[in-house]
Subunit: 197 residues, 2 copies
């Protein structure tokens, strides 16, 4: 083993780097030197639904090919972004829903006057023939209510779209008209309707 | 365009599938049929730090190669798992810390008697010569306190390791001895010390 072996530690977190550097360099009596490479890992550190949807669609396209399925694949990525919580639950809405539910969100929003929020949806469509991926976006502005009105689907029971007084959970017709997913799908449908296949 | 074009919609969420199927099939007048492929996307739906660390290390290894760096790369993935919150904030600890902070966690834990939690750390080491990746795990059991004792690093200010009365944020010496990261790094160091390179 040489004298100056380097461990490249990939992290964007300086404190973590310093902690790790100290432990490893003393633990190996200096035979290993730890250097930081500041690197953003797309999968976990992104706050962008587009990145997530693109990556999912890429995986889906691969899955089609590996299973000899010819055609179009589609994935959906949606999230609720609450202004007062700096975008939380955001891209991890589904995971966070499973853990703390709508009740958890209302707890975090207690005494919070700014209730602004929006739902965003990205639909990604992949074409197994051309290998192309197209993204379609839909957004719905609104606010977070003060009570859980229903447990129908995700955070629908606490989200009131702008211009209305009921939540998505209470009024499915409104949701069907103005939702983030509806808007993204409308764009996706235009694309599908013109697709030569 | 044929009669029975299929959109394979990749999702594990039945309600989402039904919503999308209805909108797309009516929007395209039935020219496109939506079929569900139940598929778990590793990146976003995993609750396992190991999956995350493995994927990050794979990316880091690729980065080394693309930049003509020969050697060892290392990544760390850590998370705080709170029993009463079904594992939240878990694999997304860093993102959730940025959004709601330690204060948000304490808010969610108000009136909660079960304060059990653990920190987990996975260190992944990749070898650019052999292309191998090794994982090392460390875990530290403990509980969530009732006040934020410091803002030193992540959730350290609210986590009290088992057998002690102070938080990681208050007592750095204890942290340095018993932490999840220390335990994982001890294993990683053993490996590095025996590595022929």
């Amino acid at each position: 083993m040489g004298e100056e072996n380097i461990v490249y530690f990939f992290t964007g977190n300086k404190k973590k780097y310093e902690e790790v550097k100290k432990i490893v360099e003393s633990g190996t009596n200096g035979r290993w030197k730890v250097e930081q490479i500041k690197y953003s890992f797309l999968e976990m550190q992104t706050k962008s639904l587009k990145d997530v949807a693109l990556k999912k669609c890429f995986d889906a396209l691969l899955f089609l090919k590996q299973n000899d399925l010819e055609g179009i694949c589609m994935v959906d990525d949606s999230g609720l972004f609450i202004k007062a919580l700096k975008g939380f639950p955001g891209v991890y809405s589904s995971y966070i829903m499973d853990c703390i539910g709508q009740e958890g969100i209302l707890k975090l929003m207690e005494n919070e006057k700014n209730r602004e929020a929006y739902f965003q949806c990205i639909i990604a469509i992949g074409n197994s023939i051309t290998d192309e991926i197209k993204l379609f976006e839909g957004k719905c502005d609104g606010k977070i209510g003060h009570v859980v009105t229903s447990h129908s689907f995700g955070f629908d029971g606490i989200f009131i779209p702008r211009g209305y007084s009921k939540t998505f959970g209470e009024d499915k017709e409104i949701k069907d008209k103005v939702s983030h997913r509806r808007k993204a799908l409308n764009e996706a449908i235009k694309y599908l309707n013109h697709l030569k296949f």
